[in-house]
């Protein structure tokens, strides 16, 4: 059945037109951050509280985020234990007046790979506390299934490790997660570098992508944000339009002149 939200991104019952979520770290300046966010067309912006040390210490920067007028998705970047994540999520709820939390729990310091075991534990605690949890996870099917079993309506498997810009390094895994969890909102989070990576994620049937370094670290973040916006739109349209089946042999799109018709197929 088609309803009025069928072509919108659904995050725990809230609907958005843009399928691009954008981060707020690592820009050359807050001004460029604000311009890039605007240029991306994103309606959701993620923000980290971990290293500000206190609520008042980060107030100036958070004010700049609030000025964008976008829905804020606080994240727990920089946390290494379940207790840290839970405490920070509670602080985020106070500061931003939202029950949304993008759950990041680092298991490996160097490539910032999520800790799947701690992630399940923290997700369980926070869902029971009434949070709407968006867990950042690896592209492991069983992990995603367990998170969904706990009650996560949104899952955020990585494309590649944070900040690498490598794109979707395991499309097989990502496709499998999509096929096996058709009801969940799936967002590729982390590892994208090029607009084509975002396009590919949407073509696979992912509902959205979340970016930060790909835009903030670009030579021209504002232009790159716009490029990603177009790529996401193209990828989604491509998915909706249903791609032609792949074939192993070439099939000319127009008949070849001078060749008997029975030789043409």
């Amino acid at each position: 059945m088609i309803n009025s939200h069928s072509e919108q991104l659904n995050i725990y019952g809230e609907y958005f037109n843009s399928r691009l979520l954008i981060g707020s770290a690592l820009y050359p300046s807050p001004q460029i951050m604000q311009q890039a966010i605007q240029s991306s067309g994103a309606e959701i912006v993620t923000v980290s509280l971990r290293r500000q040390n206190s609520v008042s210490a980060g107030e100036d920067f958070w004010q700049l985020i609030k000025e964008t007028g976008l829905k804020v998705l606080p994240n727990t970047a920089g946390c290494h234990s379940v207790q840290e994540v839970v405490t920070l999520a509670q602080m985020c709820r106070e500061v931003f007046d939202t029950d949304w939390i993008k759950l990041e729990l680092i298991g490996d310091e160097y490539n910032l790979q999520p800790d799947p075991f701690g992630l399940l534990e923290a997700t369980d605690i926070l869902l029971k506390e009434g949070f709407k949890v968006l867990p950042y996870c690896t592209d492991d099917l069983v992990l995603c299934q367990r998170l969904a079993d706990l009650g996560c309506e949104v899952l955020m498997p990585w494309g590649a490790p944070i900040g690498t810009g490598k794109g979707l390094i395991n499309t097989y895994n990502l496709k499998t997660i999509r096929e096996r969890l058709p009801e969940q909102t799936l967002i590729v989070d982390a590892g994208l570098g090029l607009p084509s990576h975002a396009c590919q994620a949407l073509e696979l049937g992912y509902d959205a992508v979340l970016l930060n370094s790909a835009v903030a670290g670009a030579g021209d973040p504002v232009k790159m944000a716009a490029a990603f916006s177009h790529a996401v739109e193209a990828g989604r349209m491509g998915y909706i339009a249903q791609a032609m089946p792949e074939k192993e042999v070439a099939a000319p799109s127009t008949p070849t002149m001078g060749m008997p018709f029975w030789h043409q197929n």
Binding site: L26, P28, S29, P30, Q31, I32, Q34, R51, Q52, N53, S54, S56, A57, G58, E59, D60, F61, L64, Y110, G163, T164, G165, G217, G219
Partner: protein
């Protein structure tokens, strides 16, 4: 105000890096009064904590070309500024070396692509052998890097000491531990011909949009380490400099966190900075930690310096992470509004 025949009076509010540069520019022509909210020997401002790098080419990766070009001009101005001091201050322009561990070579490539050549000043790629020639103690440690010949640094600790002593000898009136209020042409009710507001983050209440950006640094005494020039190590989140100062002292910094928190350095940042230094040179292992500090860089939303003139009050603020890189040029631009 000024009596007939006397030098015009100037109040400098804030005795950090910008206040000192302004005072040195003005000390011969004006009667100066300097207001500073902290005691004379306080180590709180961004200028005391910084690595005092003069790195316009490296910074061009994250800032506009125009700022990088101003940085290049500032390097040329520093020697004449330091000549005004009664005691010499270490200054060098022997380039800087950029290196990356194997895992971070992607960051090095990206850094190289983003460098904006400044006229004839560019970076050159250096091999393991070149690195060994430039910095013999790093020979064999890194396979590749970049050399930025136009860059330099100075000893900010000595600059702070020497600038204070020099200005004392010139009869400058110091009002330490004086939280100053600037109203019209008066500071704390006292009238001046000119007022230069150099308060940095201290002016936050009066400057909408001014924020602090937290930075943390370590100062290490490491007699086993002999680096000739600043070395910048690629790091996934922020650049880490190891800046060699006289007498085997090294400033290692700096973190960059969007926070107003000026409290002590965190354990995490300490570990990051010191482990980065150790991976560059194992001689840091037996070095002595002289200080671990945190402070706030003043910045506006565009991270550019702002000069404002209102009647006879000139405000210079928002030099962000480019205090030493830009101060001479920005202060000259500001003072040219009527004082120079």
């Amino acid at each position: 105000m000024t009596e007939y025949g006397a030098k015009p009076s100037v109040a400098i509010v804030g005795f950090g890096l910008v206040g000192r540069v302004a005072a040195l520019e003005l000390m011969d022509r004006y009667q100066l009064t300097i207001f500073e909210k902290d005691p004379q020997d306080a180590q709180t401002g961004a200028g005391t904590l910084a690595a005092a790098m003069l790195a316009p080419l490296a910074e061009s990766v994250i800032c506009d070309r125009i700022l990088a070009e101003q940085g290049l001009k500032s390097i040329a101005l520093w020697p004449s500024l330091l000549k005004k001091l009664d005691t010499p201050v270490f200054f060098q322009q022997q380039g800087s070396l950029i290196v990356a561990h194997q895992q971070d070579r992607g960051d090095l490539q990206s850094f190289e692509q983003r460098l904006k050549p400044l006229g004839e000043h560019q970076s050159t790629r250096v091999s393991q052998r070149d690195i060994a020639t430039l910095e013999p103690e790093l020979g064999g440690k890194f396979n590749q890097g970049l050399f930025l010949p136009c860059e330099g640094q100075l000893d900010n600790s000595a600059f702070f000491t020497s600038s204070y002593e020099t200005l004392c000898c010139r009869g400058v009136d110091f009002q330490f531990t004086q939280a100053a209020t600037i109203e019209a042409d008066k500071v704390n009710g006292q009238a001046f011909d000119w007022i230069i507001d150099c308060r940095g983050v201290g002016a936050k209440q009066d400057k909408p949009g001014l924020r602090g950006v937290r930075g943390e640094v370590a100062r290490i005494f490491a007699p086993e380490v002999n680096l000739q020039r600043p070395v910048r190590l690629m790091h996934p989140r922020y650049p880490i400099y190891i800046a060699p100062k006289p007498n085997h002292q090294y400033v290692i910094g700096a973190t960059e966190i969007e926070s107003q928190d000026a409290n002590d350095i965190t354990v995490r940042s300490t570990l990051e900075l010191l482990s980065a230094a150790y991976t560059v040179h194992s001689g840091f292992a037996e070095g002595r930690v002289m200080s671990l500090n945190a402070g706030l860089r003043p910045a506006f939303v565009d991270n550019h310096p702002h000069i404002e003139v209102q009647n006879n009050v000139i405000s210079i603020n928002g030099l962000y992470r480019h205090g030493y890189l830009l101060a001479p040029v920005v202060v000259q631009q500001a003072l040219s509004k009527g004082l120079l």
